[in-house]
């Protein structure tokens, strides 16, 4: 056997022009977030509401148990169960905490460590890069919304012993998490791409979350019109829940589809700003 040739050896394989260059970004991003300090703590916090609702679904079928009676009374119908679960304040707040914890630095750290020079010296264009970053956040956000939703459906069937489930509600359970996750992901990534200072991005995400809600409530009490609720992120999300889960009756007197429009519109605007922002940084 000849001695292995010392020094630089080439690579015989073929560099195939793949269109899914976002996949490597996706897989490595998932691993990096999972390895972060406190990641398990945050994951635990986000799945906490799911546990509460799981118990409530069980207790609902066993009225003799006196547990969580307040919550159970509100879960009379399946629709109200999922509506309440997907729009409860604690879940939304914890999703925001996750975006602050893991999402804020996704692009800011690349800007700070000048990683874009490495990324874009590869045959990768902005869509791959942004697509990859989006997919990382979507993976976790869906993990905390869609997966618990489907589990609740499964457990509801098991506990109530009947496989009957309204297809419309099932469709809503599939659609709502995507709308919410796309919104949160575009919001976080857009802010993350604005500055290399991840600390500033984290503070701005939380500041916007609280500021807009306070502003909406202030405007509503002053001008006595519920349309101002459109300013508040949480209220918009609640209205989208109402629209999808209990046939559009809204908690305030303004049409709930308007909130859906606002959320989708904002998602588009944030993604556009993000797209422009990366183009400038790529050069």
């Amino acid at each position: 056997m000849a001695i292995r040739e010392k020094g630089y050896t080439g690579w015989e394989g073929e560099l195939k022009p793949s269109s899914q260059l976002w996949l490597p970004i996706f897989f490595s991003g998932i691993k990096t977030i999972f390895k972060k300090k406190y990641a398990k703590l945050i994951f635990g916090g986000v799945t906490f509401p799911f546990l509460i609702f799981l118990i409530a679904v069980y207790v609902r079928t066993k009225p003799e148990l006196r547990l969580l009676s307040g919550l159970v009374r509100q879960l009379a119908t399946d629709a109200s169960l999922f509506n309440l679960f997907f729009t409860n304040g604690f879940l939304i707040f914890m999703l925001f905490i996750f975006c602050i914890f893991a999402g804020a630095e996704l692009i800011a750290a690349d800007l700070r460590f000048n990683a874009l020079a490495l990324y874009f010296s590869r045959p990768l264009d902005r869509l791959d890069y942004i697509g990859g970053k989006f997919s990382i956040l979507l993976f976790y956000l869906l993990l905390f919304t869609l997966v618990p939703g489907l589990l609740l459906v499964a457990f509801k069937m098991i506990f109530s012993g009947s496989l009957s489930f309204s297809p419309l509600l099932l469709l809503a359970i599939l659609v709502y998490p995507f709308i919410l996750s796309m919104f949160l992901a575009s919001f976080t990534l857009m802010l993350s791409s604005l500055t290399a200072n991840a600390k500033f991005t984290r503070i701005i995400i939380l500041l916007l979350y609280i500021f807009m809600d306070a502003l909406a409530q202030m405007l509503r009490t002053v001008f006595k019109s519920d349309y101002f609720n459109l300013f508040s992120i949480q209220r918009n999300i609640t209205q989208v829940g109402n629209l999808l889960f209990n046939k559009g009756q809204s908690a305030w007197n303004f049409p709930s589809w308007l909130s859906l429009l606002t959320i989708l519109g904002l998602t588009l605007v944030f993604s556009a700003v993000l797209f422009l922002r990366i183009r400038r940084a790529e050069g």
């Binding site: 195939k16 490595s28 990096t32 972060k36 990683a115 490495l118």
Partner: protein, 311 residues
């Protein structure tokens, strides 16, 4: 790749808002190792970015590997380029193997192949034992090696190295230069090295391109630049030089004190180095070093830049 031309640029012009960075550059490069030289802000990094397609030239056209530069062809071009940026850059939150494999995949390598190749190149650049450590904990020298590794992982056809040895200690620097020579010896790829260290270019490159203020001033094979100057010596002495220099001047030799505490002696045509030794023994001075003075790359560089600057 027709007849081996890697890069072909014709009257490329590019300017940042207030600085004319590249002013009518035309250049063709065949297979080989090219040194890119020039003072700070001469346009070297801008030229590299144009080759990579980061910047689109305002006028002129060019091809790399036969694919036109500018925003359409850049994907094909970048696939076969290994780029080692000048400034510190890394992707946070990963260890060296993960980072190198990740960038290999982004160049189009299958996942498993990228991981295998990552280990090979990391061993090759000398990061074998530190390859599982997080990259943020790497020292300046190790980050340079990592940058070289990520540029080699997909076995490119053109390697662009921007200040490859900056921040390396002497033994590290020698190793990197040996690696570059070894890579060029294998002949699998061409290399463009942009650096301030002339010794690095003299040691590794075949051709040198000197740029200043966005224009290419000279482009020549290295060997043609450093030719020996007839009958002119650089001498280092031990002992009292005054008498020795006086006698040399009486023999119509021109003597000046050099930069690195040595003396430049120009002998008249008829004399040979023997005269220096003769006078030295007469004046009790020891000749510790005698070298024919060569126009080194540094002199060629200073002459080229000096003229342009009117320095």
């Amino acid at each position: 790749m027709q007849n081996g031309t890697i890069v072909n640029l014709e009257n490329i012009r590019f300017s940042y808002p207030n600085v004319q960075a590249i002013d009518d550059v035309s250049l063709t490069m065949e297979n080989g190792i090219f040194g890119l030289l020039g003072p700070n802000g001469a346009g070297k990094t801008t030229l590299i970015k144009i080759l990579l397609g980061f910047l689109a030239p305002q006028s002129g056209r060019g091809e790399v590997f036969g694919l036109t530069i500018g925003h359409q062809g850049h994907k094909g071009i970048r696939r076969h380029i290994g780029y080692m940026p000048e400034s510190d850059c890394l992707i946070p939150g990963m260890d060296a193997v993960a980072l190198t494999a990740y960038l290999g995949e982004l160049s189009g390598m299958p996942h498993q192949e990228a991981i295998k190749r990552a280990h090979d190149v990391l061993y090759y650049v000398g990061l074998g034992e530190a390859r599982y450590r997080q990259v943020e904990t790497y020292s300046a020298g190790m980050k340079q090696r990592l940058k070289l590794a990520q540029a080699l992982v997909h076995d490119p056809r053109l390697l662009l190295l921007d200040e490859p040895t900056s921040g390396m200690d002497p033994s590290g620097r020698k190793e990197i230069l040996e690696l570059i020579r070894d890579i060029s010896a294998k002949g699998r790829m061409s290399i463009i090295i942009s650096t301030h260290l002339l010794a690095d270019i003299e040691y590794t490159c075949q051709h040198v391109i000197i740029m200043n203020q966005g224009r290419i001033i000279t482009r020549a094979p290295i060997v043609s630049l450093s030719h020996e100057r007839f009958n002119s010596f650089e001498v280092k002495l031990k002992g009292d030089a005054a008498e020795f220099l006086k006698q040399l001047r009486t023999k119509k030799c021109q003597v000046e004190e050099g930069e690195k505490n040595d003396f430049h002696i120009l002998l008249p045509a008829i004399e040979s180095s023997k005269l220096i030794f003769a006078i030295a023994t007469r004046t009790g001075v020891q000749i510790r070093q005698l070298k024919k003075s060569q126009t080194t790359l540094e002199d060629a560089f200073l002459k080229a830049i000096g003229e342009a600057d009117g320095d």
